[in-house]
Structure formats: C-alpha cells, structure tokens
Symmetry: C2
Subunit: 375 residues, 2 copies
C-alpha cells in the first residue's frame, strides 16, 4: 500500500493569484507552480525566469527549474504533467489546493490516483498584515492619495464655461481627461490603474459607472482610485466626491449623511466589533437622515446599495467583508475600506472611502485628506 | 429518471478570462457567470452592474440580475449556489466548462448531482479573428507602435555623458525612465501596460528581465511593449532592439542574424505552412550565422531560447503557438507574433517582434516601423 503523504499546491499566474504572490514572493504574468511538502516550499519556473525568481522569491522558498521535471521524450510540457512529476518525485499522494484551482488539472491528477481537495481560505494569515505588508500598503495608499489630490486640484483650477461646462486650461474637463491624468500620474509613480471612476451627475447613481463626457458645475463627481503597485502587488483604494460650484440641496443633505456615516463607522471600528454591526450602523445613520435603502417605484435599488467595506491587500477586494454577510468580529491587523455611499437615479450618487488598519483600541486611517465636497 | 440536458458555463472575472469577455462582450474586474443552454446565452450580473451590462453585452446575450436567483433566506449568495439555482431553473444536468474552471465550484455541483466536464479549447473560433476583431487589434498595434516610436526618439535625442551614460534632457536615461514614459504615453491613449521591458546590456540576456538602471552608449536596449486596450480588451505586442552609439561586433552580427530570421519567417508565414517549420527555419538561419542554440559551459541556455511566436488577441499569449510544440498548419485569420531572438550571458540579447495576420497567400504585418539597430 502506498504511503499517504500530503502537500499544498498552487498553479496560477502570480500576477492574478494573490495566494501565489503571497506564498512565493515572485511576480510573473505567466503561470508557475508553487508547492509545499512536509519539508520544504518551492516554486517551479521556466529557465527563462530562473535567475529573476532566485532573486525575488522569499528566502524560505526553493526555486526549481521546470526543465528538470521533463525529458526530451515529453512532447507536451503541460502543467498537468509537471504536477504529476512533482507528485511522483516528492511522493505526494494528496494535494490541498485553492478554491480557484483549475478543474482540468485536478481531474487529470485524480485520474492518475493523486487526490486533490480545495481549501476555502488557503492562507488565512493573508487577512492579517504584518509590519512589512503595512509598509507596502501605506506606500500604495500614499500614492493613491496624491493622485486624489491631483484630481481635486484639477477641479479646483477648472473654470466654468458656457452651459456650466467645466474647462481645464483650454480643454473641456471630461471624465475621460480626469481619468487619464490620474492614471498617467499613477503610472509615472510605478502604479497601474484601469477603470478609475470619474463619474459625474446621474452617472454616479451606478457605483461602477466609470463616467464619460463633459463635467458640469454643480454636479457631483465621484472619484474612486484603486491602483496596484507594479513592484509589490499591493493595492490602494480611495474615493472622494467633489462638486465644483453649487450642488442641489438633496445632494448636500445626502453628502452630510454619508460623511456622518463614515465618521460613525470609523469611530466604531476596532478589534472585536462585529463587521455587520458597523455596516448596519452606517446604514441606520443614513436612513435617519432621510435616505432609506430599498427599491424605488421603477424597481431600481436606491440608498446604501453595497457593503460598507472590504479587505485590501494583494487583492483589491479580499477578506474580511464589512457587510451584513459577515457576522464575525473585526480583528487586529486587518486592513479594510470604510466606504458608505448613497445612490439615487434622480440625483446621482455620493461615496466616501477611506482605508484603515484595525487595531486593538480602534483603527489607523491611511488617509489624511479632508472631506469637503465643494472644491 | 431525470432528462439529461447539457449547457456551457463560465464563472470568472471577464477582465482576467478572455473566453468570458469573448462570449459576453461585457468587461468587469469581478466574477460573473455566463451560460449557454440549447436555447439561449446569458450573463448573470449583480444589480450594480445590470444597466452597464445591458449596454455592453453582445446582442445575442441576455443579461439576468443575480438577485433574481436568490431569496431573503439565502444567507450566503455564493457563486456555487447561484450556479446550482441556474442549473435547476433551466434544467441543466451537465455543464461543459473551460479548463481553468474553479475546482471548488465544480466539486460543489458534482455533489449536487450536476455533472461538470472541462473542454480544452472552449471557443476554438477565438483563434480566428473576424473583421471587427482585426480592427480592434489594429488599433492596439497602432498605439503600441506609437509608443515604440516614442522610445526610439528618446534614445535618438539622448546625449552621451560621462562614463558613456545616456542623458535625456537633464535626467540620466534609465530603464525605469524609459518604461515610465512608454507606459504613461499608453495610459494617455487608453491602454494599460505593466512590466514593459526596457532592459539594457547583459540584462537583455534574460528575455523577461524588465531592466533597471542607467543605459550606456554602445549597449543594446531591448524594448518590448505589450499594452492592453482598456476599452476592447485586445492586446498589442512589439519588440525592437536599439543601440545608441557603437555596438560590439558580436552584437552587430547577432542583430543581423535575428533580422534575417525575422525576414525569412515573415516570408514563409501563410495559411497551410507548418508552425514548427517556421520556428525551425528561423533557428536554422541564426545557427548558420554562428549562433547555435544550446547551453554554455555553465549550463546557461544561449541562442534562440524561446518559441518564434504566439497568437495575440484577448490574451497576450494565446493559440496558436509558433514553436516546435505546434506541428499543425497556420490558418487564415490567425494573428501571430514573429519574434526571433538571440541571448547570451556574455553580450546580452536581441529580439525583434512583429505581429501579423495570416492570410491565404502570406501575411499582413501590423507594423511599418523599420528595423535599424543603431539610433
């Protein structure tokens, strides 16, 4: 009888798999294999990546050349075959893999008599950021805030032209121009951002609408910036809502409600508090201010139509959720967003988003930028 | 007995799943579900994405709100449960899924008695680009070429300072500066690029080394630009190798060999020719010029150490491969790169990359930029 021997395994592109980037420390856009036996951890990379991998990989992770697992007779050097060879070489009979592990590889291994089972949280520790990670996240948040400052200054410097259209220098100030300037600034600082939200007016009633066209005075402009550090792989995430000129009275009231919800949530956040309670507190404050959550007569969702927050790290959305779906307590070292918002098809939307580290006694906000709506 | 009824299914984030973007036409960074029954195709999206999805989705794809599949009693609105509900509602007992389909969801469905099997090429048609796709790819290649022109001009305009270090304006011309300018230019045109290769000197001997530090006169600079169109999701891909000043004689000879290989491959490419033969032809030309492929005395691979080309589309690397691993013929409508290269730890590396559409009688090159090494 074969002796049972367990291992852990990931097969993915580190750039698109936070668990793998976390485990190996090596970033690449093409798939690699990471595995862990009872004795050691290793990544298996092509000879093209070998030198770079030995420099970047975490100290406790061996780097093995892919080519060592194949022979001249192997016509197709597939990931399936590679993992079969790894299993044979190191005597692994059972692999634990992440939930997103590719089905085809799992089915191939199972046919060869190698067990494969997925585990929900592959690295539960990823939720709790150590000092080194906090430094990398703080850098990401700092560059994100600088980009937000740029957006704010563009709106401040804009002039109001015919039909209330904003102008920036000689150009019409559009969502596209604002987004381009923000993303160009980020790129110049080694960060990549796409789909930066620079929505205006009623576009803001859809939280994921990136925005298009000329921005008018008196309209809300929701700016949601979420770039990734090309070097570290950590994300920033920040939202502010601005108005150049005079907003509608309902917008002013909604803004005040969102700001109050943001402040109350931040005061409440600390290790031990129930995540869902923080969400519900924010929702309640906005409801009391006259902004109930529900559907309007056309069946369109209005009010606070998303969760209050989410973890931020090597993924832009990761554990923990701060929403009714999370009845568990917040814990020390979690990095979470606090982003109440209000949305309505008739007047648009407002969102304010900070990111905080949860501590024993409260939280530390990465952002220092103030929250005035009118620029 | 339950009647057998088959469907096709994808569950992924369209931004990171070319098959899904291809099927639904709707781009989003968060996971959605696409499925096809014998009667219709649909994507299932959150109410937050619903309006945007109805505008963007392909005409033959229905957009269904996620919320319709859940009830108030559902505590956890997981993808697993959603797909179970879809299976029940539309009577699907067997799903065909892509090879990368998440294992955890497949295992969940199988436990519920719903069969799941992966298929190798989920959309074989993706390999063959129609006129609409060619237009989008041509746009991506055109912007990519403009970025390459910018890089070339920066090198042309550079001055040679102390110790042969290049200067651009008042700054030292580093790999980082070159990359930043290229990626900023692309961002300003609605394209996202990361890890743009701007390697110099012996760094170029590693095909994936992105490059760092001051660039010297006389050194090769390998510039490999591969941005993605934020709007269409199609990629560009282009490589040139430049030298400011006078290169080493071995570099000149290697460059001429790579150029000859590029030209011979391009002349050979047409529908019907065997992909591996094109690769081997390029390899042979470079070997005859004195650049054999193999390992040097330290075991480091030298020469033509990668495949000649790959398909380009909604993925930067997709079918078909143009390498010894592909014994099949090229076919009309395939879009492939042609990128011979030579690498050696002692003198660095050279690569020239074009992208072409395969036609009945030959090919059409997307790029018009000439290929002089010395700028």
């Amino acid at each position: 009888m074969k002796k049972k021997s367990c291992g852990r395994l990931i097969c993915a592109a580190p750039e698109f798999c936070a668990d793998l980037l976390y485990a190996g420390g090596f970033n690449a856009p093409d798939p690699i294999v990471w595995f862990q036996t009872s004795e050691f951890q290793a990544i298996v990379v092509s000879i093209l990546e070998y030198e770079r991998a030995t420099v970047q990989a975490k100290k406790n992770v061996r780097v093995l050349p892919l080519e060592d697992f194949f022979t001249k007779e192997d016509k197709f050097k597939t990931d399936e075959l590679l993992i079969q060879r790894i299993s044979e070489k190191f005597g692994i009979t059972e692999w634990t893999v992440p939930e997103e592990f590719p089905l085809a590889i799992a089915d191939f291994l199972r046919k060869k008599g190698i067990a494969v089972a997925s585990a929900g949280k592959f690295f539960p520790k990823r939720e709790f950021k150590n000092a080194g990670e906090i430094r990398k996240i703080a850098k990401a948040m700092s560059v994100t805030q600088d980009a937000m400052q740029l957006a704010k200054e563009m709106l401040q410097q804009a002039s109001i032209g015919k039909n209330m259209v904003l102008h920036y220098g000689k150009k019409v100030l559009t969502s596209e121009l604002l987004r381009m300037e923000i993303e160009g600034f980020l790129k110049a600082h080694g960060f990549t951002a796409s789909r930066t939200i620079t929505a205006h007016g009623v576009q803001c009633s859809q939280p994921h609408n990136v925005g298009s066209g000329p921005i008018l005075a008196g309209e809300t402009v929701v700016v949601d910036i979420f770039p990734r550090d090309d070097e570290s792989g950590y994300w920033g995430d920040m939202t502010r809502t601005f108005v150049k000129g005079e907003p509608l009275p309902v917008v002013k009231r909604a803004y005040d409600a969102v700001l109050a919800a943001s402040q109350a949530a931040e005061q409440m956040i600390r290790a031990g508090v129930i995540a869902a309670d923080v969400h519900n507190k924010a929702k309640e404050i906005m409801a009391k201010a006259g902004f109930e959550t529900g559907k309007n007569k056309d069946g369109i969702p209005c009010g606070f139509i998303h969760g209050l927050g989410h973890g931020v790290g090597l993924e832009i959305h990761e554990a923990p959720r701060v929403s009714p779906a999370n009845p568990g307590p917040l814990k020390k070292g979690q990095v979470i967003s606090n982003e109440p918002g209000l949305y309505h098809p008739s007047w648009g939307g407002i969102r304010l988003e900070d990111v905080l580290v949860v501590t024993e006694t409260g939280s530390t906000n990465f952002y220092t930028m103030s929250k005035e709506m009118i620029v």
